[in-house]
């Protein structure tokens, strides 16, 4: 069935926005570090990965390990989520500072490319050391039961499904429930096998009908469904970004960060403790990645491996460059743009089958196109060197 389905476009755009908010959080870390140090922190993706694992271990400590939840429904509270978020952010902030002190600070006066190689080394080291110590076979995932809001969603209906369809679905669902009850009772009654099989088939058909009509109603409803968890993710991201903006623009530390980003040596001459500013920058950037990581692991419930940070890391990095590396609003803009573009490419797969496989490439194509016209990124400055 070729052809673009425009009724799902609003949902796809929202999907892209949600995906983009994760990229934005990671991209902020890249851009901030680049701003002060002119260094591409290749290890940032690994900090993200460690943040996910921190969230996982916290969820186990809070009583939601796989063994504890097996077969039972455990109640959770929003407090659990907040604890996990805080722990992830703190752990990532600390790791970021440690990396900066041990690996980047000594390289401050060396050629930039040397720092780059060190960053690559740190990235590889964390990946493979994690491969030795972190649980990964099979890749563990955070239990969904820790999220008390997992079944809630927010729905914005643009055009509801036709009434007959909804009614038909409701009737079918009621029939299915009845049929199920009858079948279970028949099983317990110990009816003969042949009769049981006929009943099972009838029940199966009733269930199929119900679920099929239900899905159809859902697809006929033109609107946007945002699961609570993802909405929470978006709101937290916005909140953190506003907080960051406030810190950078309105506080003394933020002013120092901006000064160092503008001109490292002059800032030092003006009496700013550049060492401390760099450390604080790393801490904040890594903490943001930690927040993203916690949400990635808890809301999206991705199975975790030590190589988890590689793909989002690269995408977020591209996002940061896209927006103009060193530019904080740029990173947010770039991240969201990347998420939306990626999702739209998948949507376009309906028109050009197979296009979906190229979605990662499209991100880079967009990047190169942007850089050719605006070498400093979308929101960055395109300074031309004049003699």
């Amino acid at each position: 069935m070729a052809g673009l389905d425009f009724s799902i476009l609003p949902q796809q755009l929202v999907n892209g926005l949600l995906l983009g908010s994760i990229y934005a959080l990671i991209a902020l870390g890249y851009t901030m570090v680049y701003g002060v140090l002119r260094l591409i922190n290749f290890a940032h993706g690994e900090v993200f990965m460690l943040g996910s694992y921190a969230a996982l271990f916290t969820s186990w400590a809070l009583g939601f390990s796989p063994e504890s939840v097996k077969g039972i429904d455990k109640a959770s509270s929003p407090m659990n989520l907040i604890i996990m978020l805080v722990v992830s952010m703190v752990v990532c902030g600390l790791i970021g500072v440690v990396i900066e002190q041990l690996a980047y600070r000594p390289m401050r006066n060396q050629a930039r490319i040397a720092s780059l190689i060190t960053a690559i080394g740190v990235s590889l080291f964390i990946q493979y050391a994690g491969g030795l110590f972190l649980p990964q076979s099979p890749p563990p995932a955070i239990s969904e039961q820790i999220n008390p809001f997992r079944n809630e969603k927010v729905t914005f209906t643009i055009k509801p499904a036709p009434k007959e369809a909804v009614d038909k679905a409701n009737v079918a669902m009621a029939k299915a429930r009845e049929s199920d009850v009858l079948y279970e009772k028949a099983k317990l009654d110990g009816r003969p096998a042949a009769q049981l099989e006929t009943m099972r088939q009838a029940n199966q058909e009733a269930q199929n009908e119900a679920s099929s009509l239900q899905t159809q109603v859902s697809s006929q409803t033109s609107g946007i469904v945002i699961p609570f968890g993802q909405l929470g993710m978006l709101l937290t991201t916005v909140f953190l970004m506003l907080l960051l903006w406030f810190v950078v623009q309105k506080t003394k530390t933020g002013r120092a960060m901006r000064a160092v980003a503008h001109d490292f040596d002059s800032a030092a001459l003006m009496g700013i403790n550049v060492g401390r500013v760099v450390t604080v920058t790393f801490m904040i950037g890594s903490a943001l990645a930690g927040a993203g990581a916690m949400m990635y692991a808890t809301v999206l419930r991705t199975p975790l491996t030590p190589f988890l940070g590689v793909a989002p890391g690269v995408k977020a990095f591209v996002a940061a460059v896209l927006g103009g590396i060193g530019n904080i609003p740029g990173a947010v803009f770039g991240g969201v743009l990347m998420g939306v573009v990626e999702t739209l490419v998948v949507w376009l797969d309906g028109l050009i089958p197979g296009l979906g496989g190229y979605k990662d490439a499209v991100a880079f194509v967009v990047l190169i196109a942007v850089l050719l016209f605006r070498p400093g990124g979308l929101l960055g400055s395109s300074k031309v060197e004049k003699v």
């Binding site: 799902i8 949600l18 099979p138 890749p139 099929s212 697809s219 990626e342 998948v346």
Partner: protein, 417 residues
């Protein structure tokens, strides 16, 4: 510069030492380069025989195993190694094969085909008489080619891609192949679940997934069903909402997910969130206790095709699970534990039969493996004789519940005709 180049060219021509045994240009070049899931071995096609006799059985019997000890496939690789090692230890404790101890030499394929080939070559150089592995079809293909060149029999553990058996007559599996699995699930979807229209979710990066989806499609359409759409994702992805919105618009009555549990869990979870409530099914790539953790409530009620089920009463299954618990604690994370065990046991059994007949070389072991009939494996009764490398086995379909997998239905090869 010209003079230099001339010197170099002369050097090249002059320095060519006479080619060793394996010349370039293998006669039986495989067509396995294409990923468009070939329908399978054409009956009657002769599988090429290895020219070499292979290694000689020494005082210690060296069996090689190539598995992924690192990389994306690590979960299956680790279980594979544990299962095979358990089999070897068990036999050694009971006195080995005719008094000779067995040594399991493990090589790391790093989840990559060229590394698997390299690891296999090294093990062959170390003097193995038989090779086990791998779990992924892509990696196994490279291993199969070098083992054919060296005359060493290879027993694949989890590689289900149908055309692998065409590489050489030294290739065997302990798992069923994709043609079979796809046909089983198609029949299940059509006959048992009464689904008339199904959508597919395929992992485009996995030859296994691509092959299984194609096989399902062929069988399902042959039964009269309709495939309303196929969405392709890549193994390391985590956000599937884009694909799912597309899928929903096609109004499927059911969805077949041919990928690994690592993605299937999140996909189904996101699927339910997106409002797709129809039944879901899959292949043996779903098998892992972790599926329930990552899929949560969403995956409960799903069906997939498996090799064995831990609640089965068959003595082989119970003994295997008890031994595993004693040796490693808990249960195997994936089916590769049982398949690894079966593969090793099968190889050992064949070596014993070969030695009993007076055989001393890998060629004799290959013949013995080919002769295998009704081997009682944990993953089912395995008969290889006359089946050109693909064992005739039953498939078990299990249903996912909150606490584990329960048996739903089984299909024998005869039932599918």
């Amino acid at each position: 510069m010209l003079l230099a180049t001339a010197a170099l060219v002369l050097g090249l021509a002059g320095g060519c030492t006479p080619p060793s045994g394996t010349t370039g240009g293998t006669t039986a070049s495989t067509t396995a380069g294409s990923t468009s899931g070939d329908p399978g071995t054409t009956p009657g096609t002769k599988r090429p025989d290895p020219t070499s006799d292979g290694a000689t059985i020494g005082e210690t019997i060296n069996i090689g195993l190539v598995a992924s000890q690192s990389g994306e496939q690590k979960p299956w690789g680790d279980d594979n190694i544990k299962g095979s090692q358990m089999a070897v230890d068990e036999v050694n404790k009971a006195g080995g094969i005719n008094g000779k101890q067995i040594k399991l030499l493990v090589g790391d394929s790093q989840s990559a085909p060229e590394q698997g080939k390299s690891a296999a070559l090294k093990l062959i150089a170390d003097g193995i008489v038989g090779l086990l592995g791998e779990v992924a079809s892509g990696i196994t293909q490279q291993m199969a080619q070098v083992s054919k060149d060296a005359g060493i029999p290879i027993v694949a553990i989890g590689a289900t891609r149908t055309d692998l058996a065409d590489i050489g007559s030294n290739f065997f599996r302990v798992c069923y192949n994709d043609d079979f699995q796809g046909a089983v699930m198609a029949k299940f979807a059509w006959d048992y679940l009464k689904l008339k229209e199904v959508a597919l979710m395929t992992d485009a990066k996995l030859p296994y997934s691509v092959g299984l989806s194609n096989s399902f499609r062929t069988s399902y359409e042959a039964l009269g069903g309709k495939i309303v759409g196929e969405e392709k994702y890549q193994t390391t992805e985590t956000q599937f909402s884009g694909y799912l919105s597309n899928l929903k618009a096609k109004n499927p009555a059911g969805v077949f997910l041919s990928g690994y549990f690592t993605q299937v869990g999140p996909i189904v979870s996101q699927m339910r969130q997106a409002g797709i409530t129809v039944p879901v099914m899959g292949g043996d790539g779903w098998d892992s206790s972790d599926l329930i953790t990552s899929g949560g409530e969403a995956i409960v009620g799903g069906f997939f095709c498996n090799h064995y089920n831990s609640k089965e009463t068959r003595p082989e299954v119970q003994k295997f699970l008890a031994d595993w618990k004693t040796k490693y604690g808990g249960e195997p994370g994936t089916t590769m534990g049982a398949l690894g065990y079966d593969g090793a046991k099968l190889m050992i059994d064949a070596i014993k039969r070969a030695m009993d007949k007076g055989g001393t070389k890998s060629r004799d072991i290959t013949a013995a493996i080919e002769d295998t009939e009704n081997f009682p494996g944990v993953s089912g009764t395995i008969t290889l004789k006359g089946f050109a490398g693909n064992p005739s086995k039953s498939a078990l379909i299990v249903k996912v519940t909150k606490t584990g997998f329960v048996f739903e239905k089984s299909y024998t090869p005869e039932e599918l005709k």
